[in-house]
Each structure stands twice: as C-alpha cells, then as structure tokens.
C-alpha cells in the first residue's frame, strides 16, 4: 500500500445464524371433495369476513367439503393445535398482516 493511502480493516457486526434443518411442506390432498378444511384466524381484524366469503365459495364448488373456523393467537397455541388438527384434513392460516 502506498504511504499516502489509508486502509481500514473492519470487523463484521452481523450475528452468526445457525443453519436450520430444512423440511418440505406436506404432500397436498388430491382434491377437496368431502374434506374437512380448517380456517385459522389469528384474531387480526377482517379475516372473519374474508373467511365468510371463502366458505360460501367453497360450498358452491365443493358442496361436501366442511369447514372449521378457529380463532386464536397470532401463533397458534399448542393446545389449540392439538385439539384442532384431528378435526381437519388441510388448513388455511389467515392473517391480517
């Protein structure tokens, strides 16, 4: 380096992030005929209205499908998940954000 140059060596301020084990989403169900669809509402405003319309449209297209609406925490609680999952085949997780 030339005598007239200034060099700054700088340490990295970023936190080290441990790599997470990756997994894939679960295989999809083939279609919704006769299936139980869970609608999770994390309590933020307006998702109840969204789901009302969604249920109507679903009923038109899949008359034998059923829905179960669960209102709960932003991040579904363990006890809610435990009781809700056996009642459904697939789910929509709806958020106001």
């Amino acid at each position: 380096m030339s005598e007239n140059k200034v060099e700054l060596k700088l340490l990295n301020p970023r936190g080290v992030i441990e790599a997470q084990p990756m997994s894939a989403p679960n295989p999809r169900i083939a279609d919704l005929v006769g299936k139980r669809i869970g609608l999770y509402w994390n309590s933020k405003p307006g998702m109840d209205n969204f789901y009302k319309v969604f249920e109507e449209l679903l009923k038109e297209k899949y008359p034998t499908a059923t829905t179960t609406l669960l209102r709960g925490a932003f991040l579904i609680r363990d006890d809610d998940a435990e009781t809700w999952l056996p009642q459904i085949d697939t789910f929509v997780y709806g958020v106001g954000d």
Partner: protein, 487 residues
C-alpha cells in the same frame, strides 16, 4: 407464518395468506422457520386493509384469490418445493470488509457507504469497527469475547460479547459503557423475554431502557433536564449500541422484516436514560425487583409506539401539586386500562393466557421534586403502588354487563392468575370495586429528570404476544473500568 410452519410440522398440509406488504417478511420467516417452500397466497394490502371491514366489501378480493388458495391446497408439490435446500435461505457470510482510500475522511465515507448499503448501519454515520477499536471496547469488560449470551430475533443471530462490542464501537460508545450494553442484551436474549414484538411488529412498539445504581453516575449518564434527549454520550450511545446490536445480530431491516409502520420513534437510540439517584429519596427501582440497592442494574421494557406516552405535568408545564399529579395518574389509568376489560375475557393473542391485551404494566417516570412531596405524604414505592391500585378500581355497580362478564370469564379462564383470583372474585359483587390492574406490582416507578421536572408514563401489555414477559431487570457485571458493576 411461524404458526403455519408449526401446523405443517405437525403433519397437516396448508397455506398461509399474507398481504403484499408483508411478502418479504413472510418469505424470510418461512425460511427462518425451516420450510422455505411453504405455500403462500398473497392478497393486496391496499385492497384488503380497506375492504376487510365488511363481508360484502371484501367479497371481490376473496373471489380473486379463491382459485389460488384451492390450488395451494391441492396442486402437488413441485420437485423444487419437495426438496428445499439451504440455498433458498438468505445467508450472509461473515465477511470482513477492508477499505482503502487517499485519506481518512474518504475511507470513512466509503466504509459508511458499504455498511449502509449492506444494511449494517442505522442511517447515521458510524465509527469504523477496526480490530484495534474493538479490542479497546472489549477492555471495558472481563467477559470473554466468545461468550454467547443468547439469540436475537427475528433471525436468531448469536449475540456474543465480541459482536456486541463491534456494534458498540460503531455506535460511538466508550468501553466503560459496554457492561451496561451487555446487560441490556442479556435481558433481550433471555429465554423469557419477548424481543420479537419490539423488533419486528407492525405496531411500532418500542424499547425502554433504564439504568439504575451507581454505575450511571460513574459513566456520566445524564439524568437531569433533557435526560431523554440528545447531547449525552453515555445515554445516546448506549441506546444506539442496542439499536445496532439488534439490527445486526437479529438482522432486521425496515419494511423487510421489521414491519413497524411508522418506524420506532427515537429510532437510533430507543428510549434510554438513568434514574436520578442524587435527588431521589427512594431506593433505586431495581431494589423493588429483588436486587440489592447498591448494585447497578438495567431494566428493559417494551412500550407502546406512537401515542401512548401520557403526561401528568410538573415543573413549569403547569401548576402542580403532588395530589394533582396523583389525581391525573389515576384518571389516566382508569381511562386507558378500563378499555382493556373487554380483552380480559379472552385467552389473548399469544401463547400465554392474557397476552397482548387486557391488563397492562405501567412504567411511570416521576421527577425528584414530586417524589420528595410524595414522600412527605407518606408514600414509598410500595405505598404509592397500593394507593393507585386502590384508587383506580371501578365500582362494580358502574361496570357494564359486558365488562362484568369479561372479568368473570378472566377468573374462570385463568387470565387472572391464581394468586389474584380471590381478590377479583370478592370485588366482582354488588358493592365491590374491581381493579383495572391485576396487581399493584404492575406499576413501576422510575425517578428521573431534573428540577423542574415532569411526570409521565409508558404502558405495555402485562404479558406480551410472543413470550412470558416484556419487562426485565438484569444486574450489570464484569466491568473493568468502573467500581460499580465490576463483580
């Protein structure tokens, strides 16, 4: 997003709906939680937020994404979705940057450009974290640079003493401040503390840091007039080191995964100050949390964002008496906390009962002259807690049927903790008075400011959305350059 990942990991296929504004955040969170190819359907933020209030107004929006949702639930996974790889996760190498220029100002300018471009800065000029400067910063603590305190949300970056020191250098802090900064990060990374809500939420929630005990004076913190303002290197750079440490170690960025809609007020330093030990007749705050009065501690607390700072007057702002200030506190608490009764009868919005709403914690800043007057009236901290708790209770007969029902449900659900149930059961009767606070201990008094001073408060949920607590006190340890905090 984390909820969808949780249900997928429990074996159910599903889809997450997110608004367009939160798309980067959702994508990043799905990867951070281990399923980068999680199925998501985007809906327009502009439309949803405006139209969601009524079934009929939101209908066209739902119709427009209905097929997307059905496809997300039924269309087989692509090979890429079924075989996610680490490449799908945004990862940063731990690169060290080197800058060469004709002069120091030019090198500093270039370093600042690079760091901000990398999103490693806070928008103000930074001090270069050279190895020499970081070593100098580390001279303020006995603790090993490799010691890991814990992880910072949202990306779970490891908070080591060295990383904190690097960020403290960038903030312009001095080595004698480092033990204070470390204690704050110890609180934020505590397994029970909810740092996620103040670092990432859309609600612009914020962080309050109060230093108490002799270290504040030893390092020159300002606690007089203007104590929350600019011009005080310890106050300002301790706060800024916390800002930079959370930004860099937790890896947040506005609009990407820090979704605070207005930003977080006092964004470069959070709210950072110390108690005024010289003029306070009371023991420092941390003594009320089980620490020895002569120890030095930090207390960190989440607070509401834009508008929840409440003034009770004092000094030259208005004619005041201690009784008058006390009356205003009581009026304010009744007004703000009664509004939360409706939430008491729900489980709340988080994992723990009563989270994210309903009953509150209040962090009340009292100025020294006021405390002297309160002392003359016979109040110590405990006595003042009890007085305000008692005076803010609402006569049962004034409660609406909905309020009574909500409080009764809170008793039955366990939102009101077991040790307080009897109090509320007894109060919830004709002739009774129902507290707006779960306990007198939800009032936290800090003595700060000069003469004249001003009393005001922040508030926040007694239980936060994502963890057990958002108010924590930690003892300052390991200091090498101050007598206080050296144990």
């Amino acid at each position: 997003m984390a909820g969808t990942v949780k249900l997928e990991k429990l074996g159910k296929p599903g889809v997450f709906i997110n608004c367009t504004t939160f798309d980067d955040d959702a994508k990043s969170a799905s990867a951070d939680n281990g399923i980068p190819t999680l199925r998501r359907v985007k809906i327009s933020s502009q439309e949803f937020y405006k139209l969601r209030g009524k079934v009929e107004t939101v209908r066209p929006l739902v119709e427009s994404v209905f097929d997307d949702i059905i496809n997300a639930l039924t269309k087989p996974l692509t090979p890429e979705e079924a075989n996610p790889s680490q490449d799908m996760v945004e990862q940063e190498d731990q690169v060290e940057v080197s800058v060469t220029a004709e002069s120091y100002p030019a090198a500093a300018e270039e370093f600042n450009r690079i760091f901000l471009e990398n999103r490693w800065g806070d928008g103000l000029p930074l001090v270069p974290p050279t190895p020499e400067r970081v070593k100098w910063m580390l001279s303020g603590t006995k603790r090993s640079p490799d010691e890991a305190l814990g992880k910072i949300n949202p990306k779970q970056g490891a908070a080591t003493i060295e990383k904190i020191a690097i960020n403290a250098v960038m903030a312009g802090a001095k080595p004698e401040y480092l033990p204070v900064i470390i204690a704050v990060i110890e609180a934020l990374t505590d397994e029970n503390f909810d740092d996620l809500h103040i670092l990432a939420s859309a609600g612009s929630f914020n962080l309050l840091t109060v230093v108490s005990g002799p270290i504040a004076e030893e390092i020159g913190m300002e606690s007089g007039i203007g104590f929350m303002g600019h011009g005080w290197r310890p106050n300002n750079t301790i706060g800024r080191a916390i800002r930079l440490s959370t930004l860099n170690i937790g890896q947040t960025w506005p609009g990407k995964n820090d979704m605070a809609l207005t930003g977080r007020i006092s964004p470069h330093t959070f709210f950072t100050f110390c108690e005024n030990a010289d003029f306070s007749p009371w023991e420092p705050y941390h003594a009320s949390r089980g620490f020895k009065a002569d120890e030095s501690c930090v207390t960190v607390g989440s607070v509401h964002g834009e508008s929840q700072l409440n003034h009770f007057y004092g000094g030259m702002i208005g004619t005041w008496t201690a009784e008058g200030v006390l009356d205003r506190m009581v009026e304010d608490l009744v007004r703000t906390d009664r509004r939360g009764y409706f939430m008491w009868g729900t489980k709340g919005v988080g994992k723990y009962l009563g989270s994210g709403g309903g009953a509150m914690n209040h962090m009340i800043i009292l100025f020294p002259e006021l405390v002297v007057e309160l002392e003359k009236m016979g109040f110590d901290q405990k006595g003042l807690q009890d007085e305000i708790y008692k005076r803010t209770a609402i006569p049962y007969d004034d409660l609406t049927p909905a309020e009574r029902k909500s409080i009764q449900t809170a008793i039955e659900l366990g939102v009101i903790p077991a040790d307080r149930k009897a109090v509320f059961a007894e109060a919830l009767k004709p002739g009774g008075k129902v507290p707006v606070l779960i306990s007198p201990e939800n009032l936290h008094f800090f003595v700060a400011g000069g003469a004249p001073g001003c009393a005001f408060s922040f508030n926040y949920y007694r239980i936060p959305p994502y963890n057990r607590t958002a108010l924590m006190t930690k003892r300052i340890t390991g200091a090498t350059l101050t007598k206080a905090g050296s144990a």
